[in-house]
Symmetry: C2
Subunit: 334 residues, 2 copies
DNA sequence: TTTATTATTGAAAGCGCTTTCAAGTAAAGG
DNA sequence: CCTTTACTTGAAAGCGCTTTCAATAATAAA
């Protein structure tokens, strides 16, 4: 790999000059500029971004911490971030936290040690305190899907509790009184919030909530299936299930059929997130739209504006969960 | 951020010694080792991996090029890679190629310029020639989901054509004679191969293949829906559809119902990939298992073994597409 | 005790680039 | 034609770490 040194030699100019034409950071005469550009071309020169990063203390990279690399939710989120950053030739380096404190910490340390210019963080288990402290460091951070009052201006989130409340209310309005909940892992904040929203709507309607009517799933298909197994084994009587995400809903619907219960007809199913597949299920999933892709985009826009000083027209976006009515919640009264 | 220099000062030793205790690269007396470790702790020292990378010419990072960051396929792939690399404290930096030559090239350039120790590449549009040349550079590359004879030892792939052949054959065996195909974007190699496999099985069974019986989709749900719209508009008579991936299949199934055609009963649907949701659809999707996660893992294992010299027990893995029979392809003869 | 080994250290030269700082040049003003 | 001002350049000092190389200290062998 050719270095800037060889370029400068071939072009007959100093390192500094080569650097200048690369970065357009100062005036260079047309003549020398052409010489340098020719030399770069002849050598097939590609700047070494590690060296750039070390010398300049920026990396044109923003670090992303997600829980895992697969799954629709994180896929959409990463996609949203990437789509914005790429436009401005910024890159992302991604680490996974796996719901494990050590990994989340290590991930952040790694990203910082790679000189990331900013961090976009989806942390599950890191404490508020840690994140608050982190926000005071010299790497700007933006937090997705979580609300920390002390650093609210760095948080892009959505009211999970209200979303879940909306979801549950919709089911109740449709005439259901025996409604169960499949939650996400309880150590996750969003899962907790969604449980609260569920309970809130139930209480408000004067409906009983028994802890055994809430099953703790894993936010995956298998969690939905496991929930149904559990509910059936408990011989619970129910006509509807509010699920904490669409994956759970899909898993539950499939398992329900194994018990000859037809989702959408005998059992109402409510999802959450409105993942891309939600309108392709059968029955089509009634759910709560969680615009995670847009939220990712917004985070990226903030970075672009705050860190890279790229003029961004940031829409006055406040994210609200909204109900998306499809076919999986039948109206009992009809 | 504390630097190694401050550590050395506080500990009263030289830079070299600090470096030695960090890397265990040479003997250091117990006494000085403790001094250094204490100094590091006191300062909250975190090594700067950019500097390490520049000085040592390795980064403990492997670069990944995928088409996009969302979608189950790439999610599974990245997850497979990550799960292996993380075990050995190696990191990944991911770029997206977006099916665009420029982006794929730029992605690879970026990864190389970041001193990635190896590259795992899922390239759509880059030419074989380019990849062959790339493989001769000093960054080892591994290629996923593609077979290039000249550098076969670097390719981890699976016989798409045979998979599609299997799929189509299964449908035919079930008694279907009017079978359509929804393909992926034709510029994609895997889509082409799957088309060929489809035709091969059809010819072999003496069944006619009309080009208008093949719809070029986008590998997404919407492609499946668009295909159905097209087929219906063409007033084609058909009892089965072989889809080039599961997303297309799901999209097609949903759209089919809009036309009051029941997938799995009136119309047989065959998927491809066996994505995690395939057993949660209704009807459950009969498909071809494409073990992309395992293939990602294998690529990571190769990197670990070849580049990082970590003893890996690499299973004698040859990846074969296999038929997964579920409920979406009814047997006409019964 | 002396010499031969071996284990511990530090000095210093990079890695490939950025970025002052100052010097050299050309253009402009009087 | 001589200053003054504005451009263009190059030299050199880092950025934070690794890695030779040589020197010193500790230990073993003779």
């Amino acid at each position: 790999m050719a270095t800037i040194y060889e370029v400068s030699k071939l072009a007959g100019v100093s390192l500094a000059t080569v650097s200048r034409v690369m970065n357009k950071t100062a005036n260079v005469s047309q003549k020398t500029k052409l010489k340098v550009e020719k030399a770069m071309l002849d050598l097939g020169y590609k700047p070494n971004s590690v060296a750039i990063s070390l010398a300049s203390k920026r990396s044109d990279c923003v670090g992303i911490l997600v829980t895992q690399l697969d799954g629709m939710f994180f896929g959409s989120m990463m996609n949203g971030i990437e789509s914005e950053l790429t436009k401005q030739r910024k890159h992302l380096v991604i680490t996974a936290g796996h719901n494990v404190e050590h990994d989340e910490r290590a991930g952040i340390d790694f990203l910082k040690s790679r000189n990331c210019d900013a961090l976009i963080i989806h942390a599950e288990v890191l404490s508020d305190e840690y994140l608050i402290e982190l926000s005071q460091g010299d790497t700007p951070i933006y937090i997705l899907n979580r609300h920390i009052p002390e650093i609210a201006e760095r948080c892009i989130h959505l009211d999970n509790q209200y979303g879940s409340y909306l979801a549950t209310k919709h089911v109740i309005k449709a005439g259901h009184t025996e409604v169960l909940h499949i939650s996400g892992p309880r150590y996750r904040k969003d899962a907790q919030e969604r449980i609260i929203g569920f309970k809130q709507a139930m209480y408000e309607a004067g409906l009983p909530v028994n802890e055994s009517h809430i099953f703790e799933g894993d936010y995956g298909h298998s969690g939905g299936a496991a929930a149904i197994d559990y509910f059936m084994q408990q011989r619970l009587s129910f006509t509807s299930i509010v699920c904490a995400n669409d994956h759970l809903a899909v898993g539950a619907m499939a398992r329900l059929r194994d018990f000859d219960k037809i989702p959408g007809e005998q059992i109402a199913i409510m999802g959450f997130d409105d993942m891309p597949f939600a309108d392709c299920t059968y029955p089509k999933l009634t759910t709560i739209r969680y615009p995670i892709r847009e939220m990712g985009k917004l985070a990226a826009d903030y970075v672009l504006k705050d860190v890279y000083k790229v003029q961004q027209k940031i829409p006055p976006s406040s994210f609200e969960p909204t109900l998306v009515i499809r076919d999986s919640v039948l109206n009992l009264s009809k």
